[in-house]
Assembly symmetry: D2
């Protein structure tokens, strides 16, 4: 379909209107590499301030109404109060992200640790996260395990899978009726020889064994070089096991750059598979989440930019002329089919998105609106004292 | 265990005595890259001569009693006669490898082709391979699909999975009681954008859906950079879905070099997971096959060397002191556990293997024995005329 | 600058008007992978027909006035006659590509072969290529060496460098006053352990040693995963050693897909460095060449598409607002600087290019114009008999 | 040569006797990933304690007589006193490693920062390091720049090279007669889009421009996947520009694991090129340094193991029968040449090294000797209080 085709534009805008992108509380806080965390001005000092920043992103984009929490970084005494704070700001609390990688006990693993005491402690933390979900009303428990080994022989690869399965089962059985596990995989880091959930196949196999409330989450930065991520998207959608995304982008390893910044064409191809699999609408249950680190760029505008990048890729995916594409594919017309896809990708969808924002009563240019808003100047002043939030706090 | 420990040496030798490595008929023939196939002297001209060469490898190593066939490269009028030829030489026929990548009809795919006529043709070829298995008594049907796409949009990723599943089901249902499918995966080449079975997860999911007679085969050269292959071995063994190996080695892509030549430590780690999973003994049903190309080195000695490399890696794996390793692992002794593994790897097992060969009445040095045998001089003379076998013949 | 800025549009069009993209004779012929070459209809049978096809590409795009030759694939008795044939079709002959990888003698290397006789033969071929350049009036001798080894120890890495330097020196000294060497590098394939010119550093070091008439050529498909190609472009421009490009694209290894099809953003970044280094204008001496394989798609339209892809990336690069970018860079405004670049990339330059073509009296849509032209139908009929050209012919 | 050949054994032992491996002060301190630094017991609290630990490694291995310092982590008031402390422990101070990546000013780069004030500050730090070298008598200034960018467009790639060249020149001109620059390169991290010295080619080009006192240092963990490191070793030795190594090992990115633990065959191949290039003897001026992180394993034994791994790889490299290898290479005997190399690699050199240690009056098993020594129990008790050293201290 052509962009100049008015009904098509309306259809695309209608689909975009329903898209929800969840931003992560930790992306508003300081982050860095093992070499250095460069502190920035105005960074939140607690979960309340993180949610306040997330609310700004939503206010400007209209597309980011929930914020994911990370436990214990976002631990508070009263989650109901935190949820009310979010509601007051027009926000909701999203996925609960567990953390079993920062306690000294987890040096050799959490739920896969050879020591049963440590496994118990780690599993208890995961169960605590479900308790928090009950309090926040969150649907998704996101599980990422840093577990693995650094040296051949360090531990038994297969025994660690048994331990993993045991812990996952216990947590799965604790889930409420509207809750689910999103199991994340990652090729490497912080473990450097084996990772206990290194790829989508491992996550898929465990989710299949667990049952319908366990699904795979794809972090776009967690693959081996050359991996075709949109293939995984298509495959998991086909078998009903795609739970969502941790969006970010990478040139090398798990760079955690702004989504769409390293390979915007890849992001488009991913979103095309989402559209093709009819998985964009909220009822499809795919969680579109960001998981990024803004090490050197200001955090709030970086997150706004990321939301826009996802929207632009989605808009292009929606522009693909499905009929022309299918006809060319069926005819074995390699260049024609490729051209049908590229025609959408090469379109400039920014005017259409500006129009959508105007329809919604938003500023057509969220980046400029943020710059003009004075919000940064305010938080820089207000948050000058105290302890900035980061990965360790 | 120490090599100087006599009962341990006997135990290791006993295990090695049972190991069977299958060599591929096509490795005796000419091969090359897309740039050039360099013909060599003495290369077989038909399947009978390939089997004769394989018999030499077995006669000298005592460890390679079967030869895999590739259809149509090894198509003959009378498979019973071919099997008799093998038996007469002390050999058996092994896995049947299908070929759905060289007919002009397969340019855009075989069983996943958008054209149903081509899919039918490809599936029929796979069924013909089962007919051949009936004739040869082969247990394993090895399926590798070159199917995929070169350009984004070229075809529908998900529809191709549906087509693949349909074809696999039809072939699976045709299998006899003692036959099975070994489904191979490969990251890329000859397809350069998507491959329809690109990774172990995809192969595993299809095999699971098919049933107990479908298992995954790991080609050691078919992974993305950084993939931990021994993890996949351990994982598939745990879930009962490892069917076998296509051994070779690689520095870059699918280099198809002699197994163990690029990363002998990796081969050792793979064989260690086999030993640890008690999967070395023939009853475990793991097919240890070579799948290599000897583009620039003489073929028969290259294959002998490859068999020796697998044996040496296996011997080292068997030397691992399982008790010491488990104790160190359980104690969280990272360096101690690593050392238990490395102690075996750093051993020189060549004397032990020479001793084993002497026990079996073989020459302790198969490479030297081949050089002395005059076999090459004979085939060079005898096979001077005619059409040499290659990938296309 | 904005696209709607009329003087800017004129400036961009003016720059695009000077861009020259050379197409390779072999891309019009059959190609494939080691698994299969799928023949296509209408493929040229000799260099004359290849040039005729290249002339069609130029006639439709106005941007591809020269065609590169490959010796011996394009060997003819009378190069003056071939050059006249080109001129008659409005074309010129471009770079001469040597081939020292297909003679049986080159199995273990050409100019780096341990055997001095083979080295002599290979060097003589390179000298013959300079003779041909004298006849065709070509400026550039493109040297790609497939030389390398497959196994550790196979040959002496350092001695091979000495042999390489010797051959390069002899060829360099034979160059005429307006001739130069373009030295290509490649990570791997067909050699799988070492390649004698594996990276830009090696090519650069040799070119530096040779002198001003030796420059590095970047094949965009010849790098290790993760390599930042635009960095190399910027670096070589800075030191005056960039000679040109072999354009194509890749997802995995040396896929040789249509340039811009796998990562259009990368192509844009490369062209941005060209623009930033003021190297687009012909006097800068950068050769913009395609080097691709159209294994499954029709060749002529694939080459037209490739030329358009380079033009579109160039147009976007020219649209970058240099002043805004420099200001943001100097201010340390990470997001602002990135946005200045992305603003150009996200533009749809197809209307501007259509306008340029109209200015030049060309059809604004070369792909459609080709489809309508009837050329394919004609060559399919005319070239039905005879031996199709390919890599081996 | 055979190990059983007594003169050969003596020759190998003689060569090993001269080998010097420098250990890095920071490897004795705490380290980790961006996710967590797990503190260990007994870790040094200042440079004096680090040197004390390094002295233990040397006392047990006889091969690690110097320790590299990192400024500012090892900044002290009186470097002469620190040097005397080392001497008293039988140690020397080795390379001075600069640090221009941890000051908040360096968020967007140090010597390549767009801000001239920051560049001045960074260059001044490098000059301060030369002052320290004057005080410590160190020969080598190791320069690693984390400089780079995270996003396309963030800064001007080429201008950063100009700034880099300017800073390097100033430092080079400050070097004393017996001092040199070792310039390190790294593909990525902490920068994720461009790195200003990403590969050996860039380091080589700058060193060449600087002059004879600038050489390239190879960190074995700093390459793109698939890079052939021994090729780089051979190449840089040939052109006289190899300055030394930062040894460690990797499976994925810059894992900083114990050298030889991930790919012992690669380490052997590297050491073979050193032996083949006659660069093992100290007069050749190659600095063999470790640069590792012991995130989860105890530090001192990990470093002992690393020293042993380098020694074992070196011993195997020395065992290669150079005559047999050269003969096979010259004859084009691919398998024979490979076998000549592998024969040495497959040898168990541990008995020879134990013999060498006995000759030197050392315990034949340094790992066991350390475990028995009680040193760890002592430092665990003595260093219970205070602030442990780490990357940030």
């Amino acid at each position: 379909m052509s962009q100049s085709d008015a009904p098509a534009r309306e259809r695309v805008k209608q689909a975009l209107r329903t898209q929800r992108i969840e931003t992560p509380s930790w992306a508003y806080a300081n982050s860095g590499t093992r070499f250095k965390v460069f502190p920035q001005e105005g960074v939140p000092r607690d979960p309340y301030e993180k949610i306040a920043d997330a609310a700004v992103v939503h206010r400007l984009t209209g597309a980011a109404p929930t914020v994911a929490l990370h436990i214990p970084w976002d631990r508070v005494d009263d989650y109901a109060d935190l949820a009310k704070h979010a509601t007051d700001l027009g926000m909701g609390l999203g996925a609960i992200n567990s953390n079993v990688f920062q306690d000294p006990d987890y040096m050799l693993g959490s739920v896969t640790n050879p020591d049963p005491r440590v496994r118990r402690k780690a599993t208890d933390h995961l169960l605590e996260c479900v308790d928090i979900m009950d309090a926040t009303g969150s649907r998704d428990l996101k599980l990422w395990f840093s577990d693995g080994t650094n040296y051949p022989g360090q531990d038994d690869i297969r025994a660690r899978q048994d331990r993993l399965a045991t812990a996952l089962r216990e947590v799965y059985d604790r889930l409420g009726p509207n809750q689910r596990i999103l199991l994340e995989y990652k090729l490497f880091e912080p473990a450097f020889y084996t990772t206990d959930v290194p790829d989508w196949g491992t996550a898929y196999a465990h989710c299949l064994e667990l049952g319908p409330k366990a699904q795979v989450v794809i972090d776009t930065g967690h693959h081996a070089p050359g991996t075709n991520i949109e293939f995984i998207v298509a495959f998991l959608l086909r078998v009903g096991k795609l739970g969502g995304f941790d969006f970010n982008s990478r040139f090398y390893a798990d760079d955690d750059l702004m989504v769409g910044s390293a390979d915007p064409f890849q992001l488009f191809r991913i979103m095309y598979e989402i559209v093709r699999g009819d998985a964009l609408r909220p009822e499809a249950g795919i969680a579109f989440m960001l998981d990024q680190c803004h090490n050197i760029e200001p955090k709030i505008p970086a997150i706004i930019r990321s939301v826009l990048n996802v929207q632009e890729a989605t808009a292009k995916a929606l522009l693909v002329d499905a009929g022309a594409l299918a006809a060319a594919q069926q005819a074995g017309d390699v260049l024609g089919a490729n051209a049908a896809l590229m025609d959408a990708y090469n379109s400039d969808v920014r005017p259409l998105l500006a129009e959508l924002r105007a329809d919604l009563g938003l500023d057509p240019d969220p980046m400029a609106a943020y710059a003009r808003s004075g919000y940064f100047e305010r938080i820089r002043a207000e948050r000058a004292g105290g302890q900035q939030a980061g990965w360790g706090a």
